[in-house]
């Protein structure tokens, strides 16, 4: 990965010129969003228990019904053309990505309590899920048969991400403990420290934190976890967004990335662009999209958003960013310097 050394065929990406290019409405606040591996669709989970699919870039909308609780997590099998969705009731559903009216292929109880995140292995043969039962689970794709349970966290597991080589799975919990699992053996082989993303608020007697977003860079050299830090009032959400960037080889923190101008809120989604810059979006005291160079802890660029962001997804081709917002809109942002 070389910072901003774009291959000649890539569009001219300039994150300092990022701008909103689409704003698609739904009828309920959105919770999460992901582009499918082809980039032809973007999906969002909503507070009305539905999943919304929009075509990219046209914005043709289809609503997928089948969940009985909020859908917080989405993942895909590129090989099988499947969408996986996890909800707050612990249900894991598989859907065809394409088609006019996708219906669930299967529906299983994957966790006791919330499913907080899903991740597909790079070869699309495994799906990882995590949740409030403190467990990480691996599932066979495409049939959803259970493969393995990874037991080791002692609190809610907030996120999972496969390393691009497919051998390792990272899982992060409420307290900011990141475990690295050997996928074949099912063993935790090391732990990374993101505890700066957690606090026990002694006044309100509650834990606050967790890796709200987690992502590897395409080469697997870095792992980014995002969330909230410096919490002074857990019950009012008074704290600051933070991205913790790990050097994968050493397992040490490479940087703690903050907005250049102080912001109150949570970073809900993070991605590492193939060109090396880091993107995160958050909400709280207004929505913002931040861009960092990996060696500068203060944001390189900040874009004020029209809504409070609740997730972030980077298009497979690296030009578009999808952000689901509390105001029931999914917004697309273009990272290219020229008009599309």
């Amino acid at each position: 990965m070389s910072f901003l050394a774009a291959p000649p065929t890539a569009p001219a990406i300039d994150p300092t010129k990022v701008r909103e290019v689409s704003s698609w409405p739904h009828t309920s606040p959105l919770v999460c969003a992901r582009f499918d591996p082809s980039g032809a669709f973007v999906f969002a989970g909503a507070q009305d228990n539905t999943i919304v699919r929009w075509t990219v870039p046209e914005g043709k909308k289809v609503v997928l019904t089948g969940h009985k609780s909020w859908v917080r997590s989405l993942a895909f099998s590129a090989r099988d053309g499947l969408l996986f969705s996890g909800d707050y009731a612990g249900r894991l559903l598989a859907w065809p990505v394409a088609g006019d009216a996708p219906a669930p292929r299967w529906d299983i109880t994957a966790h006791r309590g919330w499913i907080r995140a899903l991740a597909s292995s790079p070869d699309s043969r495994r799906l990882a899920s995590c949740g409030n039962d403190h467990l990480v689970r691996l599932w066979h794709v495409p049939d959803g048969q259970p493969l393995r349970t990874l037991d080791g966290h002692d609190c809610h597991v907030y996120n999972v991400a496969f390393h691009p080589d497919g051998k390792w799975l990272a899982s992060a919990d409420l307290k900011g403990n990141v475990k690295v699992w050997d996928v074949e053996r099912g063993e935790c082989v090391r732990e990374l420290d993101a505890r700066i993303l957690h606090k026990y608020d002694g006044v309100f007697r509650a834990d606050i934190g967790g890796a709200r977003g987690m992502a590897f860079d395409p080469e697997g050299k870095y792992l980014a976890c995002c969330g909230i830090t410096n919490v002074s009032n857990a019950f009012a959400g008074v704290g600051n967004p933070l991205v913790v960037l790990f050097d994968w080889a050493s397992g040490k923190q490479k940087a703690q990335l903050k907005p250049r101008a102080p912001h109150q809120g949570t970073a809900w989604g993070v991605a590492i662009h193939p060109l090396g810059f880091i993107l995160a979006a958050g909400g709280g005291n207004g929505g913002e999209l931040w861009v960092w160079k990996p060696d500068d802890p203060l944001s390189w660029h900040t874009l004020k958003l029209a809504g409070n962001a609740r997730d972030l997804s980077l298009h497979p081709k690296g030009r578009l960013v999808a952000i689901p917002c509390h105001d029931s809109r999914l917004r697309l942002y273009d990272l290219a310097s020229a008009a599309r």
Binding site: F204, A234, F235
Partner: protein, 425 residues
């Protein structure tokens, strides 16, 4: 309102015992016109347990879930031990006790401020200039308590560092009926006689103190001096009852079931105190003021509340105490149906719920209704005044009777309201 026994008011010279037994006396105290009251109270002690879910618990995540609506949040509703009644999935153990409980789902207290909301729920009235009403605990200590009981009439079990004695709770009833707070459920400090003080020496000290007090009281008697004197008597009694404060005396299995965390210990302590003769025990569980991450925090907080509370209800029932113990689960208000951008819910008093159980309450009853997404009461709207009428009725007291302060009648409960008879046994 300052309570000054030196004012010479004859009613203030009465002790609680004489207040209860001088039925039909010439003092004009409304309560005393109810001749059976003293007999009832002497024959069977009534008790009150309040569980205060501090900060404003969400009615949508507890007693009035609205799954599948735009305000319902991610949680489901589950069936209870009473067919047709569903509550939030966050309360599975409590759901199995629903046949012992009644729900009021149509509360409109019209006050979204923490402090003012707490006053309304604790006194049954909105704050008024010039008159402070006693909290339910102080009123019950006065009306249900027994002067010979060494336990304080109003015991407040608070999470560590969050509470303290508030003499103001007793208002015109005087400091004798103020709460005694047990910080983190710990016994009052210095409850043990110092090791180097013999029983005989202690008795001598007490006699000397009494003599001095009597001499002082002959010259000036105030509510404060009387309470001061009574406090010493109570302390001696408390020392003899100190075993009640030690939950370690309970079987391990029961302690496990209540939970070893603070709220579990506090609930078990409440049961021990009620069983040991306490009149009014309030247990506070924090914190529900979830403007941010309402669902995460309610999952945590109610996860801690559910089993100890259900265990406490069952334990009281199995020991035969529930029939004489009124149980109230309350907050200062509910939370907004609207879910804000922080996944939070804000303060909401227009349409929320409380749960009751035990003494005088019809188990398995639900009264009132909110609309489909919980934004408004659509049937049987009530306020805290109605609740207080209901509490007093359930306890066998007439809420239309009066306290008297310098000849001024102060009704026990707001005269503009009435009891919710649908949930009275």
């Amino acid at each position: 309102m300052h309570c000054n026994y030196a004012c010479g008011s004859s009613d203030h010279l009465l002790s609680r015992r004489s207040f209860l037994t001088a039925a039909g006396g010439a003092l004009g105290l409304g309560l005393l016109t109810q001749p059976s009251l003293a007999r009832v109270l002497n024959g069977q002690q009534k008790r009150v347990l309040v569980i205060d879910l501090h900060g404003g618990v969400s009615q949508l995540e507890t007693w009035d879930p609205k799954p599948g609506t735009n305000t319902g949040g991610p949680f489901q509703a589950i069936p209870t031990s009473v067919p047709g009644i569903h509550i939030s999935e966050l309360l599975p153990h409590t759901a199995r006790q629903m046949h012992r409980m009644a729900l009021v789902r149509s509360l409109n207290t019209a006050e979204d401020d923490h402090g003012k909301g707490a006053i309304i729920m604790n006194t049954g009235r909105r704050q008024e200039p010039g008159l402070t009403y006693p909290h339910l605990g102080s009123a019950c200590a006065r009306l249900l308590g027994d002067e010979s009981n060494p336990l304080p009439g109003y015991i407040n079990i608070t999470p560590h560092g969050t509470g303290g004695v508030s003499v103001a709770d007793a208002a015109f009833l005087g400091p004798r009926f103020a709460p005694v707070s047990l910080d983190d459920g710990k016994a009052p400090q210095n409850i043990d006689r110092p090791a180097d003080l013999t029983a005989a020496a202690e008795q001598t000290r007490q006699l000397l103190r009494l003599r001095a007090s009597e001499r002082f009281l002959r010259r000036r008697r105030t509510a404060q001096t009387e309470a001061y004197t009574q406090t010493y008597d109570q302390a001696v009694g408390l020392m003899q009852k100190k075993h009640l404060f030690n939950t370690a005396n309970e079987p391990e299995k029961l302690r496990d079931r209540y939970g070893r965390h603070d709220f579990g210990r506090h609930c078990l302590l409440a049961r021990r105190l009620l069983e040991g003769g306490a009149t009014f025990v309030k247990v506070t569980h924090t914190n529900y003021d979830t403007h941010h991450e309402n669902f995460d925090f309610h999952l945590e907080q109610l996860g801690e509340f559910d089993l100890p509370f259900a265990t406490l209800l069952e334990d009281l029932a199995l020991r035969g105490l529930l029939d004489t113990t009124l149980v109230i689960v309350q907050s200062e208000f509910g939370r907004t149906p609207n879910i804000n951008h922080l996944y939070g819910r804000d303060h909401w008093s227009r349409a929320w719920s409380v749960a009751l159980a035990g003494c005088g309450i019809k188990g398995g009853a639900v009264v009132g209704k909110t609309n489909a997404n919980g934004t408004a009461v659509v049937d049987r709207e009530v306020n805290a005044g109605h609740l207080f009428h209901t509490y007093f009725k359930a306890l066998g007291l007439d809420p239309k009777k009066n306290f008297y302060v310098e000849q001024r009648p102060i009704p026990l409960a707001d005269p503009k309201a009435s009891a919710i008879t649908e949930i009275l046994a």
